[in-house]
């Protein structure tokens, strides 16, 4: 059994020597991930820009803008009146906030004042959300003013210095903001059924399958180099050789999956610690099934190019019919066809765990089929494998 380990270890060592291979299998998952993030990352959170014309440029308008900027997901961009006109005209922007001249002055002298929204039509969805956020900030400011005023009014003539009142009220307001009487907390129930959940499994499975099927090439190459034959004149048995290659291939596929899933966990927070571990179990079993397929390819291919082509054709067909990038409705003909792709079982299993919040117990049949493919693949590849082509 030790020899199995050495075969796998040697394989990993060779693989670390080949910079191209290493880059392909480790960097590509990261690049793939960056692409998913670029495509779908922004949509996981609301982000908007509030366009503001600040005609006042006084103490209170800057406090107001500071508070607006502090709201999560809102960016403040200051523009001039003429820029605002052009942008609104071209519909580049659907909503602009005007802080009128004299805004701070009015507030200081205790008068009423107004903020002005200039908008096209109903200002669009984003505009409406931004407008509401601005109203919220204005409301807060309003209440703070009233508290200030009422406290100063009722304490007037009692010999308490004005600035002392100011400080105490401000402390009270700050405390209230940190620990509001009516607070709002968020409670997340499983991952959100968004793009990442939908595409990540497909990308992971496609990736593992592709890379592992390519690993078939390594065995064919070893046959050509003569080291395969040489190995089998030592005490190493064909079975041990196969297991060694199998484990090397599984760990290769698994490491790639680990990178993709780990990054997704860190960036998109689509996992809980448990669902992450469960996904890794699925990845491991899937890597096993795919590796066994890789061994079959290695056993039938006559040349490295042959192995590559079989692997590419197999992978493409498998992830095309496996529903990698689109959902296949149950009961359709396409669904029946998809059952012939090992990807579909891995995709389903990942979906249950990641998007539907299920557990490993819910994906028993899928995992069983993948494990079955692995065992059958190992046996079949061993049966058709020939050390010397043409030999019996």
């Amino acid at each position: 059994m030790k020899r199995v380990f050495f075969i796998a270890f040697n394989e990993v060592k060779l693989y670390l020597q080949d910079k191209g291979d290493l880059a392909f299998s480790l960097l590509l998952p990261i690049v793939t991930f960056a692409l998913i993030y670029g495509a779908f990352g922004g949509q996981t959170l609301f982000e908007a820009t509030a366009y503001v014309v600040d005609e006042d440029e006084g103490a209170y308008s800057s406090i107001f803008l500071e508070q607006l900027e502090a709201v999560e997901g809102v960016d403040v961009e200051l523009i001039t009146t003429s820029q605002a006109d052009t942008k609104l005209e071209r519909s580049d922007v659907l909503l602009v906030l005007h802080i009128p001249d004299g805004f701070s002055e009015a507030l200081t002298s205790g008068e009423r004042t107004q903020l002005v929204f200039r908008q096209r039509g109903n200002a669009g969805q984003e505009g409406q959300i931004v407008a509401n956020i601005i109203r919220g900030v204005a409301e807060e400011m309003n209440q703070e003013f009233q508290v200030h005023r009422q406290v100063s009014d009722s304490l007037q003539g009692k010999g308490i210095p004005e600035d002392r009142i100011e400080v105490v009220v401000q402390e009270f307001l700050d405390k209230e903001r940190r620990q509001p009487v009516v607070g709002v907390v968020e409670e997340t129930l499983g991952g959100s059924p968004d793009f990442v959940n939908q595409f990540l499994p497909g990308i992971v499975t496609m990736y593992v399958l592709f890379a592992i099927a390519m690993a078939a090439r390594v065995i064919v190459e070893e046959r050509r180099k003569g080291t395969l034959e040489r190995l089998l004149t030592t005490r190493l048995s064909v079975g041990q050789l196969f297991l060694g290659k199998f484990f090397a291939s599984v760990s290769r596929g698994f490491v790639q999956t680990l990178i993709l899933l780990g990054l997704s966990y860190a960036v998109f927070q689509i996992f809980t610690p448990l669902s992450f571990l469960e996904s890794l179990v699925i990845a491991l079993i899937f890597a096993g099934a795919a590796s066994a397929v890789g061994l079959i390819i290695a056993s039938i291919a006559r040349s490295e190019d042959g192995a590559t082509w079989i692997a590419v054709v197999f992978s493409v067909i498998t992830f095309m019919i496996g529903g990698t990038f689109f959902e296949i409705a149950e009961g359709t003909g396409l669904y029946t066809i998809s059952r012939f792709s090992i990807n579909s079982y891995a995709n389903d299993a990942f979906n249950v765990i990641i998007a539907q919040g299920g557990s490993l117990a819910d994906v028993g049949p899928e995992l069983g089929i993948l494990a079955g493919v692995m065992v059958v693949g190992l046996v079949v590849s061993r049966l058709i494998f020939r050390v010397v082509p043409g030999g019996k």
Binding site: K225, G226, T227, R230, T233, T234, R235, G391
Partner: protein, 249 residues
């Protein structure tokens, strides 16, 4: 004759309809270097593959060190070393890593494998290149590593399939001396080659093979004596006389 270490009886192997090995019988004594000579395509490599357990014979009996290849391949693998015709090395690894890896495959532990690797590298004059990547080696150095690997695990029977093809006289001489040294320590050797002077120098007996069959088998001296005065004719003359002058590929 000395105690027989390898016995081959009536070996046959066909690829599809083509008879690559067609009724080969011979034996090799303990501590004997036995030459298997023949033009390209004669069936030498196919014979070695069957002896080395990687190719199943269609029929015939092979016994090595008392173990039947058919029934007990595992025991046979424990006592043989194979130096294949084509280099069989991991070019991306160092010489030492190659040797240690194959040493472990031959059943040695890490320490033993490392020690023997260094001993063999010394014997092959490659100690100072132990850590060098094989890909950077010259043809002669690769050949010597190829042989050094075959010696890992101290085999008692060594198969050398054209071990000196395309290398410089120094490397070649180093290989001859190594083989003679090992023979003196009791190792049996099956040696195939195209170079007749080589066979004349090293081999106690030679078999000349053509078309899958052995067409002559004796000491080089006696074979030469059959076509003239052994002092005047060469083994090459014998070879050409027996196998004809037509070109092979």
């Amino acid at each position: 004759m000395a105690e027989e270490f390898l016995v081959v009886k009536d070996l046959h192997k066909s690829f599809n309809e083509f008879k690559a090995v067609n009724g080969v019988s011979f034996s090799i004594g303990k501590g004997e270097i036995f030459g298997l000579l023949g033009p390209n395509g004669a069936g030498k490599t196919t014979t070695i593959r069957m002896l080395a357990t990687v190719l199943k014979a269609d029929s015939g009996e092979i016994t090595i060190g008392g173990h039947s290849v058919r029934r007990d391949a595992e025991s046979v693998r424990n006592i043989i070393g194979v130096c294949p015709q084509d280099l069989a090395l991991y070019e991306d690894l160092s010489a030492l890593d190659n040797m240690v890896f194959f040493g472990r495959m031959a059943g040695m532990n890490g320490k033993e494998a490392k020690e023997q690797a260094m001993t063999n590298l010394k014997m092959m004059g490659l100690v100072d290149r132990a850590k060098g990547k094989v890909a950077k080696f010259s043809g002669g150095m690769k050949r010597r590593i190829n042989l050094a690997i075959a010696l890992m695990g101290n085999p008692r029977l060594l198969f050398l399939d054209e071990p000196t093809v395309g290398i410089d006289p120094q490397s070649r001489n180093n290989i001859y001396e190594t083989i003679e040294d090992l023979r003196d320590k009791g190792m049996s050797v099956l040696y195939t080659t195209h170079y007749m002077e080589e066979a004349d120098r090293l081999c106690k007996r030679v078999a000349i093979m053509d078309g899958g069959q052995i067409i002559a088998l004796d000491t080089p001296y006696k074979l030469k004596g059959e076509i003239g005065s052994p002092e005047q004719v060469t083994l090459e003359d014998v070879f050409l006389k027996l196998t004809g002058r037509s070109l092979r590929d």
